[in-house]
Symmetry: C2
Subunit: 342 residues, 2 copies
DNA sequence: CACCTTCTTGTAAACGTTCTCAGTAATCCT
DNA sequence: AGGATTACTGAGAACGTTTACAAGAAGGTG
């Protein structure tokens, strides 16, 4: 009556609930947040809230409580199955905690990554998981002053005080080379992505490690580099390789490059695996989709993402703890592309 | 001096800026939001803000202005290249508008989709783009009362008052069949996903349309149905098909199914396209990765997503406008999997 | 019975913005 | 020169929560 403000279509707020339940907003808030109250008020508030379909306003809540209930994941490329696997993994742990997930695809652009970290100052999110191929000093700087916790998937520069989780891709690449050697291959080529990136350089090192441990000679001509880690460049790099060389095996630095390599090999009329064995890295969803199915080094993407998410949650709880670095061991998954079945 | 509260490490707020620039918070806010002020205050505020690296707090801003600057995209499966293409597209228009993008993968679970729509009441987002395979009456109900604008990618039930954008996949499927007929195929099979879903049913209809318009007989035995739209089921369905039939062409209801079909065909020792021509749908990134490259019907995923985003933005601006339904015409993209090169 | 706990509650102050309103100074017109 | 418009500003009230604090009620103890 009082103000004829009794129009019913307004979005209900906690005040509405409180009034309806005949308690103060404080009590209503307490009930709604599971803080101890008398069973009587609890019941009244719950019933009132249910009756009018009350839902707390996210903005008001985060303004006051300084928690947004959101985390963000920034990755180089949504199109890459590795990252979608990570997304799935992160979403799982986020959901278990009742957190929302904000996604951002950076295009592997450093400036974009930095902008993302800077944007955290808006505090639209409680934490960030940043997957990056190439962490520069600029990153280190920015990360040092990040407004909210950040966990990095990749390899931060030496003294970046930040939690991170890394793949041991060097070891993985070496394992792959040994597998190829074990199955009788002797001219093993590498189709790599840009070697200034962390994955590019460590996979190259791993490849060389592998050759060395098998007693195979190192030949630069057997290394072809694509301009990024995607299928197109993989195909072109393989093409260039085949014009000059006759490898009997190819290690590709990731599955997309491997898919491109496969296309090139088919075009050259080479049989996989008889003429050339092929191994990818990442063990992504792609592996079961190609023909032949792709042998690949599992770098534990899903696992790494899960770990990153957990590290993030822990740091959000406890911001002052020592930064931790965790790693996941690679594991070779053998499929049809690397072994000839009798 | 006053309260020794001058500790410098606090996060700067607009009050800090105002004090530093010697103006009221109101003026500071005006400058920061590009509302007309005297050049003098403008300069002072801008300088102050820059000096202390002020960034407005997202929660406070949305609480007051009732805009979050975020939109959400909910899709069945992040792993599916079609949806990642959509994500990329949406992110592009979001970024152009300075909006953040929140992602959610529903696993094509109706309950999860409904929960997402209900969650909008929290108002953590200004609008939602919902891609769904199967829009039920429950969806219609929930959508009718959605707290913020929703645009649907898919086919809402008749009288759901909501903007939507749809693919004309029925026509696309028919086109594909005609293409196969034109290139000499006569026993054209369909590898479909679940037929109770919108895409499943319309692709079946399109397939039948195609057969009819080519004067080919309809044979139920040439239709195999997988339990979802992914590669595994595609392979199994194709396997079952090949045990009974000898099709000389297969239309797969999407590219993932097609990838599975390809694996099955290879296993049966059949050459693609010589023995069996294969056409997928969606024209996703997968098409260039398979061998042979996959002919596919482009259903304009990127375009549809872009349209959806634009519809959403327009509706956010103007909530009362009439709901619109827009469509995108399919286009066949011929690659190696459907035509034998001489 | 007086006192001290322990529970439960309401009041009111934040949180950091935006925005209405009213007031003052400056400019324009006739 | 006087009034009318215009341009700019500051005070202060929202926005919808959570939470520190104090106060009242209930229960326990000597």
């Amino acid at each position: 009556m009082e103000t004829a403000e009794e129009t019913h279509d307004e979005v209900p707020t906690i005040t509405t609930v409180a009034r309806l339940a005949n308690v103060s907003v404080a009590s209503a808030s307490r009930v709604l947040n599971g803080i101890r109250t008398s069973p009587d008020t609890a019941a009244r508030v719950t019933r009132a809230a249910e009756a009018i379909g009350y839902v707390p306003n996210a903005a008001a809540r985060s303004l006051r409580s300084r928690r947004t209930g959101q985390i963000a994941f920034a990755m180089p490329d949504v199109g890459n199955p590795v990252y979608t696997a990570m997304v799935a993994s992160i979403q799982e742990v986020a959901r278990a905690q009742g957190l929302r997930l904000m996604l951002h695809s950076t295009g592997a652009d450093a400036e974009d990554e930095l902008a993302m970290v800077r944007d955290l100052k808006h505090r639209f999110v409680d934490g960030l998981i940043l997957a990056s191929l190439d962490l520069t000093d600029a990153h280190a700087d920015e990360l040092r002053h990040a407004a909210v916790p950040v966990v990095v998937i990749g390899r931060p520069t030496k003294d970046t005080p930040v939690d991170s989780v890394r793949a041991h891709s060097r070891k993985g690449a070496a394992d792959a080379v040994r597998h190829l050697h074990d199955t009788g291959r002797r001219r093993i080529a590498l189709v790599n992505g840009p070697e200034h990136t962390a994955p590019g350089s460590s996979r190259r090192l791993g490849y060389l490690d592998g050759l060395r441990s098998c007693g195979l000679p190192r030949e630069e001509a057997l290394i072809a580099v694509g301009e990024d880690f995607m299928a197109g460049p993989g195909r072109e790099a393989t093409d260039r390789l085949l014009e000059e060389e006759r490898p009997d095996a190819i290690l590709a630095a990731n599955d997309l490059l491997a898919a491109g390599a496969l296309a090139a090999l088919h075009l050259w009329g080479l049989d996989v695996p008889r003429d050339v064995a092929l191994v990818g890295m990442d063990n992504s969803a792609l592996c079961d989709v190609t023909w032949p199915a792709l042998t690949s080094v599992d770098l534990g993407s899903a696992e790494r993402a899960r770990l990153a998410a957990e590290l993030l949650l822990e740091r959000i709880e406890e911001p002052e703890r020592e930064p931790r670095v965790v790693g996941v061991d690679p594991q070779l998954v053998v499929r049809a592309s690397s072994v000839v079945v009798a």
